[in-house]
Symmetry: D3
Amino acid sequence: MRLLVVNPNTTASMTRKIGEAARSAANARTEIVAVNPESGPSSIEGYYDEAFAIPGVIAEMRKAGEIDATIIACFDDTGLDAARSLSPAPVIGIGEAAFHIASLVAGKFSVVTTLSRSVPVIEQNLVRYGLTNRCARVRAANVPVLDLEIPNSPARGRISTEIDQAIREDRAEAIVLGCAGMADLAAELSREHGLPVVDGVVAAVKLAESLIALGLKTSKHGGYATPRPKSFSGAFATFSPTD
Amino acid sequence: MRLLVVNPNTTASMTRKIGEAARSAANARTEIVAVNPESGPSSIEGYYDEAFAIPGVIAEMRKAGEIDATIIACFDDTGLDAARSLSPAPVIGIGEAAFHIASLVAGKFSVVTTLSRSVPVIEQNLVRYGLTNRCARVRAANVPVLDLEIPNSPARGRISTEIDQAIREDRAEAIVLGCAGMADLAAELSREHGLPVVDGVVAAVKLAESLIALGLKTSKHGGYATPRPKSFSGAFATFSPTD
Amino acid sequence: MRLLVVNPNTTASMTRKIGEAARSAANARTEIVAVNPESGPSSIEGYYDEAFAIPGVIAEMRKAGEIDATIIACFDDTGLDAARSLSPAPVIGIGEAAFHIASLVAGKFSVVTTLSRSVPVIEQNLVRYGLTNRCARVRAANVPVLDLEIPNSPARGRISTEIDQAIREDRAEAIVLGCAGMADLAAELSREHGLPVVDGVVAAVKLAESLIALGLKTSKHGGYATPRPKSFSGAFATFSPTD
Amino acid sequence: MRLLVVNPNTTASMTRKIGEAARSAANARTEIVAVNPESGPSSIEGYYDEAFAIPGVIAEMRKAGEIDATIIACFDDTGLDAARSLSPAPVIGIGEAAFHIASLVAGKFSVVTTLSRSVPVIEQNLVRYGLTNRCARVRAANVPVLDLEIPNSPARGRISTEIDQAIREDRAEAIVLGCAGMADLAAELSREHGLPVVDGVVAAVKLAESLIALGLKTSKHGGYATPRPKSFSGAFATFSPTD
Amino acid sequence: MRLLVVNPNTTASMTRKIGEAARSAANARTEIVAVNPESGPSSIEGYYDEAFAIPGVIAEMRKAGEIDATIIACFDDTGLDAARSLSPAPVIGIGEAAFHIASLVAGKFSVVTTLSRSVPVIEQNLVRYGLTNRCARVRAANVPVLDLEIPNSPARGRISTEIDQAIREDRAEAIVLGCAGMADLAAELSREHGLPVVDGVVAAVKLAESLIALGLKTSKHGGYATPRPKSFSGAFATFSPTD
Amino acid sequence: MRLLVVNPNTTASMTRKIGEAARSAANARTEIVAVNPESGPSSIEGYYDEAFAIPGVIAEMRKAGEIDATIIACFDDTGLDAARSLSPAPVIGIGEAAFHIASLVAGKFSVVTTLSRSVPVIEQNLVRYGLTNRCARVRAANVPVLDLEIPNSPARGRISTEIDQAIREDRAEAIVLGCAGMADLAAELSREHGLPVVDGVVAAVKLAESLIALGLKTSKHGGYATPRPKSFSGAFATFSPTD
């Protein structure tokens, strides 16, 4: 099976890291195709960046040809609804993947994300997914996304400190890492703190493989119905839905 | 004061109708600048179309120069969060405007929108805004958006039928019209059914004027913080946030 | 247009201050009629005081003659439901006005009110209005209402301290001032703390003008139906609803 | 022990019926003192009537002298919060009493009240009490309150029809009768429909006796703190709280 | 009337203490039959212990013969749903009893239980009962259940400390003691802290007497329908439901 | 890897069918060990049956020796919490598995279960899991569990009829089959109705394999902490937790 993993930002080193994380979790027969858009922001930190990442995510999905499922590898689940409307195959966001998986191993989890401006985005996703009451708190470690790419930055230390506080103050029973760029830290932080630490990239890979194996595809009843045929003009003309 | 009203789709006739509705509600000293993007979908019917409308909304805001507030004139509040992050001035979506105004004249309202694929989008917005328990039900009249532009189409009749059912079945005390293209129907439907019928375009104009008069601007604490400076590549390079 | 602003307590100096705040926000053609009941409590601090303020609010509405909208200028929205049932014109409470306006400029707000006994009252209103998840926390500054009338009292300092804590501890993106007597502090506190500070009196004036301009009146379907004709006896005989 | 049962409306025949219902449920040593205000509405049907019933409820409580608990015998729990602030002894509304008791014998209950204008009042109380998700639906039988006093009126038949529908449509496991004037119907309707039918008057008597036996009184921390001493003017001067 | 009080654990000293507490609260004509299972855990601290206590609770109910109501005297309301399905008479858990009674004397309460592993159990019960928003916080005093049986243990001191914090940090207006073994502490802690302290054992006795007096029994519509006749095999064969 | 699939009822034919469904979904290297208790009910239809199935589920887990994950194959997730406390390996209920998987392919799903007495059980699980607002409605097809074992029974037809109604009335975008005994119907019903139909048995197998692959185990912080050592007496003595 062929899994498209779209990093919605344009930072190739992060795409590589995400691809490696995805491959490390994938079944032997799963091919991971890790890509990122040509156009758009170099990192996604809040609503504004997100808006300019979505067309690139869709473009990569349309370029990818036949795939069995798509993973959107930004913790904000950038463009998840649009992608689900487009694709006949399943689409999974790494944020929702992490929330659902964490719900299977703990009563309550806390999220540790990068910047405080991303906290409301994640809280709103939790509300929409219906999992608000499984999440004790969304915390920001005050680490810009691309700092996670810098060797020996203080980023890891700050994340670990927030995990400590989540256990003590939030009574968190598991931790969800709130950024695709934290994928390589999960196992070590889990050992260090003695509780499940869930990374969304690998969680999404296993859920995508699961949906494919179960033969389940996105429902076309309701909000994810195939886009109605219509003209798109200007820069987006090639994205027009057709019959 | 100068109010930018952005119709997020590219249909100029709809922009004109929205502009007229906005002007009809505006104060004498309020200048209404009604625009639509050059690039993007001709109507917004669901998540996919919405994704390709947002960059055009932002582009129009950046072109507009000095304005006192922005109104996003699609009932899905297309790109509202991104727009709020960008702008120092207030930004109001016509969906949220209609929900807040309806909450001041009725205990519960029902929404009548165009197509069933838009129902989940609106329901999710209500959840996010926190007003779910003021909304009795979101109903679809099964009228494509652009049919509202066709004289003598059966669209108006179908909307009126849904309003009847909302009063009887949902115990709705007010009706919110769920599409910018319905702006011209509100007064007549209100007389016909004997209860408040709220159109979002005019509601947003009055709320925008109110925020301006009160000197209130979007908070830059939290989710609507100014975008962090970073490079945007490719087609979106000109949208890069800078210091 | 003619706006009746009812201060539900009997303290005339507070009525004057509220009237001035209302006039400062009103359109040139809006006449503000600021009144207070002849009978009732000198301030409203909790449920007991509130119960004895409502008949006076209704009495002032009945005395006022032809008006275009009524504002109830106590943050508890004293008697709002009864007033809405009585009046054909719109009725707005300053509490709900502030909550709705704050929701347009911030993801989450905190309320700073006077005494801790008012906190449950305000929390219950938020639940009823449906805006609970937009409010991070309701805080009490431990300032009796009438202390706000005393020049150079420590009241302002205590309110400012609570705002500081709301920003730090609650991650509040905006502040709502939880008492009509704080109307004169909003602009200064907003500058001092660098985020929107919303006062309900001026918010209600703009919302009332908006509803009037939009031709929207309170729905008479459901809970706000006109009172059924019946006899009221004793001290309240003159308040009997008639056909 | 001495239980004050206040019928908040001025209809003496209803007070007698309520008093009899209360006595039928009371312990042998419980004295029931059933009273109604001298001033106020003859029935309470919606928010407006309620506002003018509360001062009379408080007046009756102050006249009553030493009592062990107060029951407010209108299903809207008229003035419950004010009464709780005033009294050192427990105060129970018949609406809340019925909801709590029904929650002990059924997963979900439906309420059958008199008029549709009372539905929002009851729904708001359920939200405040936190019991919304125990209530399947609040239904109106379209029976004015005082029709319940008329022998052989069609009122009983309409209530029975609504119970049938609640069982079939709402999957209600128990029924709560939503008006003090229905107290005499509960046992018969329970036999007829084969499920628990809860009347609030008798439920409140048993809960009041329970609180007294347990030595529990209303907390004076928070919203029910004793009213602060202050002047009340005009018609309400005698109600001023004092030290 | 005859009340069966089942202590779901096998510790006879605790059964005696619970029986005494129940008798202290019961009416003169109420006979308290306090029992505990022969098989099962010596204390119930979390989900695992609970699972092995339920068959013993049911066994005691079947042995008890004719009774008028059953009380389940573990704060987790161990086996409440199964017991309700079995019995024609009312069944009350001491946890739910305490929550409902506390809701009548305070806006918000905090729970003080034994161990942190019981916190999620109690939180889930509150969610199910619908009373989540009446509970400010569930706190653990870190006291094993059977330490409450040891004279002069530090258990009481730790519980008192948590109550202090609940008042200060949670703004709790009442306290619910979250373990049947704390029944003897309520009155003293109430005096010490100056607010209502509710014990579930005595609360359940009064509620059971109330339901019996009102002639109310568990609804057999819906989830508490009588078990369908079927074979149970092995160790549980004698528990088979029959026609 | 070795997956223990426990059918909590004692009907061996159902265990075989569940085992086959599990194997059909499992990876090549996954060994499915399908078992059922020796003692307990022949089917689980409501709370009473459930209580007597849990000890048998735990007994099977203790007998199973080294396993990598446990699946509890009754849609009520019988004993899930106790099982999670016991086991160092992950434990998944087929109900929660189906809810999480359905949430990845649809905005809202409806559940079609066997009998109406199971509806409240499932609704409560949804509340606990936090997924209530993803579920449009829980429906009962009025089919006893063991009828699903009878060839050519009308059971399948009734389930199909409920699915039709769920699509029309509930606006369900996917269907969850609410009984382990329906596992063989999912694919065919999905083709027939043109939307995703999710069976919990196969969903749980894929989620269990996913958790194992990700190295995630149940958190031992909070509610799922290892049972404290203590004596269990009588019939359950062998289940005593030890150090």
